[in-house]
């Protein structure tokens, strides 16, 4: 739902270069996993991820894909990072379009810093708040 809102004219994800959702995993670079993933859907998701060709990135959109959200029950996968490697987490239920755009920009920065061999950049040093 919010992906639809982000992609349309008001918030317009097209100006960030993410305007065309491709209908086939083979042609896609980024996999946006939107919405809760149930255990029934998990093998299908893994298959789609496998079908994508390298280089590929995964964005977990919404808190249900990040951690499972408040659906702590028999049917829900508690975070897709248990089955896929995730690059950017966009929390929120649903995340506001501004958050989605921010996440997309973070992904773009991450890709920018990535070496052509696939080696990722060093993560930003965390401010050492405990050292005070």
């Amino acid at each position: 739902m919010e992906y639809m809102a982000t992609a349309c004219s008001h918030y317009d994800v097209d100006r960030f270069g993410a305007g065309l959702p491709r209908f086939s995993p083979r042609q896609a670079d980024v996999l946006f996993v939107v919405g809760t993933i149930s255990h029934k859907m998990a093998p299908v998701l893994e298959r789609i991820h496998d079908q994508m060709s390298e280089p590929k990135w995964v964005v977990a959109f919404g808190v249900c894909t990040c951690t499972g959200g408040f659906y702590d029950n028999y049917a829900t996968v508690m975070g897709i990072d248990t089955i896929l490697p995730v690059d950017v987490y966009i929390p929120g239920c649903p995340p506001r379009p501004e958050m989605v755009l921010d996440g997309l920009m973070k992904l773009q920065d991450k890709i920018q810093d990535q070496h052509t061999s696939g080696r990722r950049a060093e993560p930003e040093p965390r401010p050492d708040v405990l050292a005070k």
Partner: protein, 459 residues
């Protein structure tokens, strides 16, 4: 010479046709749909382009709503109901809250009914906009989709003004709503409706007499009235077949019996009728909201600024925490926009006068011990809203049809059983009937007009 050639061609054609073997093809339209309809799997048996048989598999978004409702308390189910039909969450909220209110046997004030009706209808308009927009997009009319989402953004801004969130709003509570409408609601509402009307008339001009659109949706996805009733289909889908059943008119709830509106009814039962019914329903919903805004009983008088000294909410909280309640006992808290409307002044109009279900106004919670105890008893685990033992069923008119909640209570703090009757479940069970016999390309407008919302179908 040409005659010989023609007869030769005819001969080969005939003998060729007699030797050509045809087989049905099994096509899996898998769970990852490129369309924005959520995840569903349709296995079709095709004879060329014609659909012979269909098997629909759902359950890919099953999140265990009914099991979670047994674990959390009554008010805690409300965020889960938001995520059922996530395009029109206010209608789900309202349905659930009215069911529990029927179980407890409490009656909310009239203004609260009007507020709920207004918000439900705005939600319904945004649902229909999404449905028609998505269907149009899949048929190639991308512009219509962008226009309709633009109109939906205006409505969502309006909803955000009232509830604080765009989509998952958790606005209704058992015994009332979270907060009253803001004082300046009428003007943005009028503006949003003006934009929506413009968009609807633009889309109407683009689609209704558009040769391509008309050819694709007329005569496809036809279902007869008897079949629709047998499957349990309700809502715009049923009304497009000619049956005039609308829960708002036939079993009126809230204040729908006082508001005047029409219910559009189709005749053919095909996709074109459903499109027209939804377009007209949006106009009728706007009519309901405008009538409700006129007829709504006036809001409460604001607290007298001389006697009720306004102080910032954070200051009031801090004073209360250190125990200095006498200095704040007569004052009103100046709260931010989303807490506005939950003060003592508004409380009588948005909440049932029911201490056992609804949180007391913030001045009472922080100002006197009775209010604090009341708040505590409602929120703490093990206390809280405790309806008497019983079972009730209450239907409301969702955007897709009759949305019924069936709640069983055993006297404890959480519900014993909550069942939601999803309107699109019935429609989806009729999908094989709708699709068989049509061509593969007709599946697109038919599925679009079903308005399958995964959250509601699978719960």
């Amino acid at each position: 010479m040409t005659a010989d050639l023609e007869s030769k061609v005819d001969e080969t054609a005939e003998s060729g046709a007699a030797e050509l073997e045809t087989r049905d093809m099994m096509l899996n339209i898998g769970p990852a749909h490129p369309a924005m309809h959520g995840i569903i799997r349709i296995v079709t048996k095709l004879d060329g382009e014609q659909i012979e048989d269909t098997d629909v598999e759902i359950g890919y978004l099953h999140r265990g709503f009914e099991k979670m409702a047994e674990v959390v308390d009554y008010n805690g189910v409300i965020p889960y109901t938001d995520r059922l039909n996530y395009v029109s969450p206010l209608i789900n909220n309202m349905g659930y809250c009215m069911t529990v209110e029927k179980l407890i046997g409490i009656e909310v004030p009239e203004r609260c009914h009007y507020v709920r009706v207004i918000m439900s209808e705005i939600s319904r308009i945004s649902d229909h906009l999404t449905c028609v927009g998505a269907t149009a997009m899949e048929l190639g009319a991308f512009t219509v989709f962008l226009y309709m989402i633009k109109a939906r953004e205006y409505l969502w801004e309006l909803i955000e003004k009232v509830t604080g969130a765009r989509l998952t709003i958790s606005y209704c509570r058992v015994g009332g709503v979270k907060a009253d409408l803001p004082d300046d609601f009428a003007e943005p509402c009028a503006k949003a409706f003006e934009e929506t009307r413009k968009v609807i008339s633009e889309s109407d001009g683009l689609l209704t007499r558009n040769r391509i659109f008309v050819d694709r949706v007329t005569g496809t996805g036809v279902i007869s009235a008897e079949d629709a009733i047998s499957y349990g289909i309700t809502g715009p889908f049923l009304r497009s077949t000619g049956v005039d059943y609308d829960v708002r008119k036939d079993c009126p709830y809230a204040v729908y019996d006082r508001l005047e509106f029409d219910v559009p009814v189709g005749s053919q039962g095909d996709n074109m009728d459903r499109y027209l019914v939804r377009m007209e329903e949006m106009e009728q919903s706007m009519r309901i909201v405008e009538a409700a805004l006129r007829d709504m009983p006036a809001g409460p008088v604001q607290v007298n600024p001389e006697t009720g000294r306004p102080i910032p909410a954070s200051e009031m909280v801090d004073l209360a925490k250190v125990g200095d309640i006498y200095s704040i006992s007569g004052s009103c808290a100046v709260t931010g926009p989303t807490l506005e409307g939950s003060g003592r002044a508004q409380h009588s109009s948005i909440a049932a006068d029911e201490k056992r279900t609804f949180l007391p106004p913030k001045e009472d919670t922080y100002g006197n011990i009775e209010g604090l105890m009341n708040h505590f008893k409602l929120v703490m685990h093990g206390h809280g809203v405790r309806p008497p033992r019983g079972e009730v069923y209450f239907p409301v008119e969702g955007a897709n049809g009759e949305l019924g909640f069936y709640v069983v209570s055993d006297g404890a703090g959480s519900a014993y059983r909550v069942r939601v009757r999803p309107p699109c479940f019935a429609i989806m069970s009729a999908l094989p009937k709708l699709l068989n016999g049509d061509m593969l390309a007709d599946m697109v407008p038919t599925f679009g007009s079903v308005n399958m919302i995964g959250g509601e179908l699978d719960r």
